[in-house]
């Protein structure tokens, strides 16, 4: 756990004092990623570097797992914190494996042990150790170097990591890939992480919590969904963007927006299909095959007008989504195929239920409705 308590930094400059951190208080629970977000110059880097004491603070306190960082030996403190910077900072004179083992070597780890761990870590970020371990940094692409930068910070297995725009210098496609890899690592290692970013999309994707700064002040400290749904003030609303509700689509899975809707099989009659639709008040019903996979659908108009078995009258489904995918994917598929609903499957392709445009709108709107009511209640008092 990382705790900041009224953390303050004032730089004395030629043009007078600059307050880069102004009584910042927050807490990052163990195993979570907290994104420090805000426009350039708002004090994100300063806040981060006060934690590993690269920048001395003016006042306030910092605790890591309950221990006051001021009371620790600065070298020990830093060796116990994984540190990743935007410029990566791999040492060009050392091979990749030696770069990774810098901290373990300083800590006096057994060489065989640290080298073995370095190899495992390389493998986890999809860099074949046989190929890359003995290369020099200049022989790697930017994305590969950044992966090594992350792995190096993890090498001595520190409980806490500080990352300053670690993926900022990478092209957008590679960035997505590295972000995903990192989230996978994090799932396994569960580090407590402070992560600086100026990119709201990255923050929403990577963060358990988001801390938004303006001119050294912590403006909002909340879950990504709350920051998007309920920006605390106009500055934050503007910073997260007018399309913030669309961004929330990424945070919700199809499974959360899905509802159960019984399906029919090819052998059922159209009459039965019509009955199901009437019960549900839907104008369609999904048809599944013998393995329980969605195979097509029947329209209400067809079911009411015709007779016979479903096998003769069902239409094909243009596309399905998996319950684990995010709503952004689902909505994108709806637009692509010009449909208002999709059949949802589990990871094996078996039918689970349906997700509709109306259902999505309703789900996203619920939180706004609740806030509006709360707002009215507050106003009434």
């Amino acid at each position: 756990m990382i705790t900041l308590d009224k953390l303050t930094k004032v730089f004395e400059t030629a043009n007078g004092p600059v307050t880069a951190a102004d009584h910042v208080s927050m807490e990052v629970p163990e195993g979570e990623i907290c994104i420090l977000l805000g426009p350039s110059g708002c004090g994100k880097t300063t806040a981060l570097k006060m934690i590993n004491r690269l920048i001395p603070k003016t006042s306030g306190k910092i605790f890591i797992n309950g221990r006051d960082t001021d009371e620790q030996n600065v070298t020990e403190l830093r060796r116990g914190i994984g540190y990743v910077i935007q410029q990566i900072g791999l040492f060009p004179n050392m091979t990749i494996v030696d770069n990774i083992c810098v901290v373990p070597d300083m800590l006096g780890w057994d060489r065989a042990k640290s080298r073995k761990r370095a190899m495992e870590l390389l493998e986890m970020v999809n860099l074949d150790p046989a190929v890359f371990a003995n290369r020099f940094p200049k022989e790697l692409s930017g994305g590969q170097q950044q992966r090594v930068g992350v792995v190096r910070a993890l090498a001595a297995d520190p409980p806490v990591m500080l990352m300053d725009e670690p993926f900022g210098a990478i092209d957008p496609i590679n960035r997505e890939v590295i972000q995903d890899e990192f989230l996978k690592l994090q799932k396994e290692f569960r580090k407590t992480i402070m992560f600086v970013s100026h990119d709201i999309d990255e923050a929403v994707k990577m963060g358990d919590k988001v801390a938004i700064f303006r001119a050294g002040k912590l403006e909002q400290f909340d879950s990504p969904d709350n920051v998007l749904a309920h920006p605390a003030n106009p500055f934050i609303a503007d910073f997260v963007g007018s399309d913030r509700t669309l961004k929330r689509l990424r945070l919700v899975t199809v499974g959360q927006a899905m509802f159960d809707a019984p399906a029919v099989t090819e052998d059922d009659t159209l009459d039965r299909a019509a009955g199901v639709m009437r019960d549900l008040d839907h104008d369609f019903v999904v048809v599944t095959d013998r393995h329980g996979r969605p195979d097509g659908y029947v329209r209400q108009a067809v079911a009411e007008a015709k007779h016979g078995t479903i096998a003769e009258h069902h239409a094909r489904l243009p596309v399905t989504v998996e319950a684990g995918q995010d709503l952004r994917t689902a909505v994108s598929q709806m637009f692509t195929h010009d449909v208002t609903w999709l059949a949802v499957t589990d990871s094996q392709g078996r039918y689970q239920g349906v997700v509709t445009q109306q259902g999505i709108t309703h789900l996203l709107g619920k939180t706004y409705g609740a806030a509006a009511t709360a707002g009215t209640a507050a106003a009434a008092e």
Partner: protein, 247 residues
């Protein structure tokens, strides 16, 4: 900075070639005029004076490397930042003084003999090494130092493991320049009683004795080539591959 390094990398090759051509042409002429036997008359002197010559290079060059690198490191430390530029300015002015004048000044201070010769040569050689060490260390990207500090590396370890290795190529370039100056100046050491092959060259000129002059000049040239070759090899193989543009 980079252009200087590239120019420097190209120059030695050219210099080797020119020197070899020169030696070859001389050899042809010498053969024809029967100078070879004249030169061989001085064989005993050549061997003895070459040894003196090499001792001068090794002692003054070695001392210059040790002191130049140390001084460069010292000046590059943050605590010295306020003085470093001023000291570098003084050293820069030092280079504009011709090496012969440096030797003369050294003689004025220390008299005649081996010690003033070594001192003068050391002084003339010191600057490129100090300057390149200092600038090479300053040019180490701040991100590397920040990463090192952030990982809990102390300043001594950082100097050895990060700063020096990453400045090594520039430092070596300085050593190469310095030793070229050194080897070129050693013949002059004879003038202040330092010995070396200069004795054959200058006496040969005085006595208008081409055989004697060449007996000094040819080994001097060969020695210069040898030294440059050795430093070049050092530059090639002692600098880690990750920071060595030659590999």
């Amino acid at each position: 900075m980079t252009t200087a390094v590239i120019a420097f990398r190209r120059a030695p090759g050219l210099r080797h070639l020119l020197t070899l051509l020169l030696v070859f042409a001389l050899g042809m002429g010498v053969q024809a005029s029967g100078l070879v036997t004249d030169i061989m008359d001085y064989w005993g002197d050549i061997v003895f004076l070459s040894q003196q010559h090499m001792v001068l290079v090794l002692v003054s060059g070695g001392l210059a490397i040790v002191t130049g690198v140390s001084l460069g490191i010292l000046l590059s430390r943050p605590a010295m930042r306020r003085w470093a530029e001023a000291v570098m300015q003084v050293l820069n002015i030092g280079t504009t003084i011709p090496t012969l004048a440096v030797l003369a000044l050294s003689m004025t201070l220390l008299g005649l003999g081996f010690t003033p010769a070594v001192f003068g040569l050391w002084l003339a050689t010191l600057l490129p090494i100090t300057r390149n060490t200092y600038q090479g260390l300053l040019a180490v990207p701040p991100a590397l130092k920040e990463a090192a500090t952030g990982m809990g590396m102390g300043s001594g370890r950082m100097l050895l493991k990060v700063e020096l290795p990453n400045a090594l190529f520039v430092i070596f370039a300085g050593i190469r320049t310095a030793l070229a100056v050194n080897v070129g100046t050693v013949p002059l050491a004879f003038l202040i009683g330092g010995g070396g092959l200069g004795e054959l060259i200058f006496t040969g000129i005085d006595l208008a004795e081409p055989g004697m002059m060449l007996a000094g000049a040819i080994p001097t040239a060969l020695l210069a080539i040898l030294v440059d070759f050795l430093v070049g090899q050092g530059q090639m193989w002692l600098i880690p591959r990750g920071v060595n543009p030659l590999r």
